[in-house]
């Protein structure tokens, strides 16, 4: 490419080829910066840029002794380390007073330098190169500095940065900045001053910055691609970058801003003999920079906090001690905090649901060029089921890709690929515009697919019915099969049936009815569940309405064991029987369960009531846990016994049964109104903060009552879905189709006695 004619809108190649363009993308990259000193043309003076440079370095290492690397940035140090490993005597020359000054502060740089020196590298800092002097052979022989000193050099590697390759753009009169080495200046849509011409990557200067790493380029390319596709969403607003030094045995990580100044606070851990230095820079309760030396295991976690602009005030005490320490106490990380992905063996299983081991994931990342969590989910299935290994997979991405990994900003992540909107935005629109049907949401919010997908439709359906109960349209086709069939699908396509046992109580009559159903419908497995009720497993779908009819005749209703809804209220025997009991746990449990019957929620909801602090009902791992004490009840919320066991947090103490009902209802309604679909109470509560929950539920009496009223309104008149279906509602769901007429036996003759001529004509012959 030799010329760019913006008037004729043509590009001209050196062989005379001419190509027209409507829009043009410049991705000309950068050139290594060669110091403009005498002698730079000598043999043995190279940049560190391409394979030829690398080959020249390998060849020099075989025949020569002294190497000088000019520039102690990332690239220079990696080159120096490589040359030293090949046996050369390497001196690193740097203009500034400490190495890697763009990534490290002085203390971190000095530790890194000491470590590299122990590996045999030599450093000359604060040295300005004056000229390169030839030896007798004509090859470069030594480097002379401005201060008159010299150092022997049979090989000089210039790693003093890059310069945007904007020659073509410049010649075409496109504005190139003076800052940042003259990159083509682009806007947030990656357009140059000629709006028909775009530029991305190392040739482009965006807001005065030329990025030399791959991650920002991906972000730029994404914005540019949507713009080129005339799908003008997204702006590139600059990147926060992180870097890792790829020198064996030396761990360095840095991200963000680590200067000093007004309003910036430092948290520093400095163990000089132990070889660990960590500095976290905080501004207005947000992490804005991190420098890690010696122990970089938490680099990806800090980078995530930094990118998400997470408020770290609540975890400030433990922030320095890392993800594992902090999130073993608070936080939703699944296994993430408990393992260090980089230290795992290749054969170690990362995703326990789908049996994917570390080696498989790392191989997929490398060979298939994966960059995001979603890529890994799609290609390997890891983290695509329960999600508890998400943190681990992100760590693997971070450790495999280094700086090229861009962690997902969870608070701005769209619901799914069908939309650019987040859960929060969709909820808000449904409320603000009183949207009552899925189609209305999709139209109002510019859904990209005609009818969504299996991820967004169930979420939309929940948001509609929870925001506008009794008004919004509940779409069964947008519910997962279990909620559509009111039973749990099993691996063989049969279903399981769990009748409700209020508070875990049952009667001889109910048990007889269950036994009769099990025999009558040849139920292969009858199991007692963890929620104090009985599961009939292996029922045929077509039998379900008849099964429900029989159970209903004995007074039983759906246990909603299949729904994102109220599951169970587990109880101990309470003071009704127990000699230690202080409160009537069973009757309290029954009252709660009856109050909440028919409640849909973002995810399943389980409660428990214990009659005394011995807590036999295990209320400490429930969404709402109630523990009776002599003077009343203690209420706990946001516990979870699942993927990662989470102990419920103390909400408040209340005096009597009525208050238990009021506070529990208010908390669950808050969760129903503000939780995101498939977010358990623990994750919701961590997201909004326990302080917020206490403000809304404990401190604000009026608000609490209103929340309760809204919950009671939503579940008002809840009917038993089993009884309805036993009477024929949605019978199509349970009735197999029977081909009621064989049209014709052979395709070459007309079907069904020519009763349908038009049909016959369209048939294939």
């Amino acid at each position: 490419m030799v010329k760019l004619d913006r008037v004729a809108r043509q590009v001209i190649a050196d062989d005379g080829t001419v190509a027209d363009y409507d829009r043009l993308l410049l991705a000309t990259g950068s050139l290594p910066f060669m110091l403009p000193v005498p002698g730079k043309e000598l043999e043995g003076v190279i940049a560190y840029r391409d394979i030829a440079d690398t080959e020249a370095m390998i060849a020099a290492a075989e025949n020569h002794k002294h190497a000088v690397v000019i520039g102690a940035g990332l690239l220079g140090l990696e080159a120096a380390n490589g040359l030293a490993l090949r046996g050369m005597d390497v001196t690193v020359v740097h203009l500034l007073d400490w190495i890697m000054e763009r990534q490290l502060d002085r203390a971190g740089a000095e530790m890194l330098q000491a470590s590299l020196e122990s590996k045999g590298l030599k450093f000359l800092l604060g040295k300005q190169t004056e000229m390169l002097i030839a030896s007798d052979s004509g090859r470069v022989g030594c480097v002379r500095f401005k201060d008159g000193s010299e150092v022997a050099a049979d090989l000089v590697v210039m790693a003093a940065g890059i310069r945007p390759n904007s020659t073509l753009a410049h010649a075409a009169g496109l504005y190139c900045g003076t800052r940042a080495g003259g990159g083509v200046v682009v806007s947030d849509t990656m357009q140059t001053y000629d709006p028909r011409i775009y530029a991305v990557g190392e040739c482009a200067a965006h807001r005065g910055t030329v990025y030399g790493l791959v991650a920002p380029l991906f972000e730029q390319a994404k914005v540019c691609a949507t713009h080129l596709a005339e799908f003008g969403i997204g702006r590139y607003q600059g990147s926060v970058t992180s870097t890792k030094l790829k020198v064996t045995g030396v761990d360095v990580f840095s991200a963000g801003n680590f200067g000093t100044g007004d309003g910036l606070e430092d948290i520093i851990l400095h163990d000089k003999n132990g070889g660990v230095y960590k500095r976290l820079v905080i501004e207005k309760n947000k992490l804005i920079g991190a420098v890690l030396y010696g122990d970089t295991a938490d680099g990806s976690w800090y980078f995530q906090l930094l990118k998400d602009q997470t408020d770290v005030s609540a975890i400030r005490d433990s922030l320095m001690f890392g993800d594992a320490f902090t999130n073993n106490q608070i936080g939703d990380v699944g296994h993430a905090g408990n393992n260090k992905a980089a230290a795992m063996a290749d054969t170690a299983e990362v995703c326990g649901c789908n049996g994917v081991c570390k080696g498989t994931i790392v191989k997929a990342i490398r060979e298939q060029g994966l960059f995001t969590l979603d890529d890994v989910k799609k290609q390997t299935k890891a983290s695509s089921s329960c999600g508890s290994c998400t943190g681990l997979v992100e760590q693997l991405l971070a450790s495999t890709l280094g700086g090229a990994f861009t962690p997902t900003n969870r608070s701005i992540k769209p619901i799914c690929a069908c939309t650019d909107h987040t859960h929060g935005e969709v909820r808000e629109q449904i409320r603000a515009n009183k949207l009552l049907a899925i189609n209305a949401v999709m139209q109002t919010m510019d859904w990209k697919t005609p009818n969504g997908c299996a991820t967004c439709r169930p979420a939309l359906n929940y948001y509609l019915i929870s925001t506008w109960p009794h008004e919004a349209q509940d779409d069964p086709q947008s519910r997962y099969i279990n909620e559509r069939a009111h039973a749990n699908i099993q691996k063989d396509g049969t279903y399981s049936v769990v009748p409700r046992m209020w508070g875990g109580l049952t009667t001889p009559d109910e048990l007889r009815a269950i036994a009769n159903v099990a025999e009558k419908f040849s139920i292969p497995t009858v199991k007692v569940t963890g929620g104090q009720r009985i599961d009939l497993l292996g029922a045929k779908k077509a039998d379900l309405p008849a099964i429900w009819s029989d159970l209903g005749a004995a007074g039983m209703v759906s246990g909603h064991a299949y729904g994102k809804s109220l599951r169970t209220v587990k109880t101990c025997v309470g003071n009704e029987h127990c000699r230690f009991g202080t409160q009537a746990a069973m009757s309290m449990g029954v009252k709660l369960e009856r109050m909440l019957f028919g409640m849909w929620s973002p995810h399943k909801v389980k409660l428990a009531v214990s009659g005394c602090p011995r807590n036999c009902a295990e209320a400490g791992i429930k969404d709402v846990g109630v523990i009776g004490v002599d003077s009343g009840y203690e209420l706990y919320v946001a516990g979870n016994g699942g993927i990662k066991t989470e102990v419920a947090e103390f909400l408040c103490k209340v005096k009597n049964d009525d208050e238990v009902m009021e506070y529990s209802a208010a908390y669950l309604q808050l969760y129903r109104e503000e939780g995101w679909y498939l977010e358990r109470t623990v994750h919701f509560t961590q997201r909004v903060g326990m302080d917020y929950v206490k403000r809304r539920i404990v401190d604000d009496e009026v608000g609490r009552r209103e929340l309760r009223e809204r919950l009671l309104y939503a579940v008002q008149g809840a009917i038993d879905p089993w009884a309805e279906r036993a009477q024929g509602v949605a019978s199509y769901e349970f009735t197999p189709l029977v081909a009621n007429a064989v049209a014709t036996a052979v395709s070459t003759t007309n079907m069904n006695g020519a009763s349908d001529e038009r049909m016959a004509e369209t048939l294939p012959h």
Partner: protein, 105 residues
């Protein structure tokens, strides 16, 4: 050799939903109806682990298997990338509001 079976009026299949036609000694056939009333028929067996596709959520011309969320393109029966596998498809016709299905004799 194949035969056309008359199944049911289209209203008996919910839009973005399905019905199941059992067959003796052979896998059932799942009949789907898209939001714009196109009828698809596939064997009710996910190429992954045999899940009943009829029980999945339908979107566009695809269905998401209820067991492990593979997406199957109902026009071809092929699993969507990166998953690989194929469910057998059958020809269908809609005539005067009635759904017809072509099966092997």
């Amino acid at each position: 050799m194949s035969a056309w079976l008359k199944l049911c009026p289209i209203e008996e299949i919910p839009a973005l939903g399905s019905r199941v036609m059992p067959r003796a000694n052979r896998p059932s056939i799942a009949i789907f109806r898209s939001s714009d009333d196109v009828i698809f028929a596939v064997e009710d067996v996910c190429p992954h682990k045999g899940g009943p596709l009829s029980q999945g959520i339908m979107h566009g011309n695809k269905v998401t298997c209820p067991l492990h969320a593979w997406n199957i393109d109902l026009t071809s029966g092929e699993a969507c990338a990166p998953d690989a596998g194929c469910a057998k498809t059958f020809a269908t016709r809609l005539s005067e509001g009635v759904v017809w299905l072509q099966v092997d004799a």
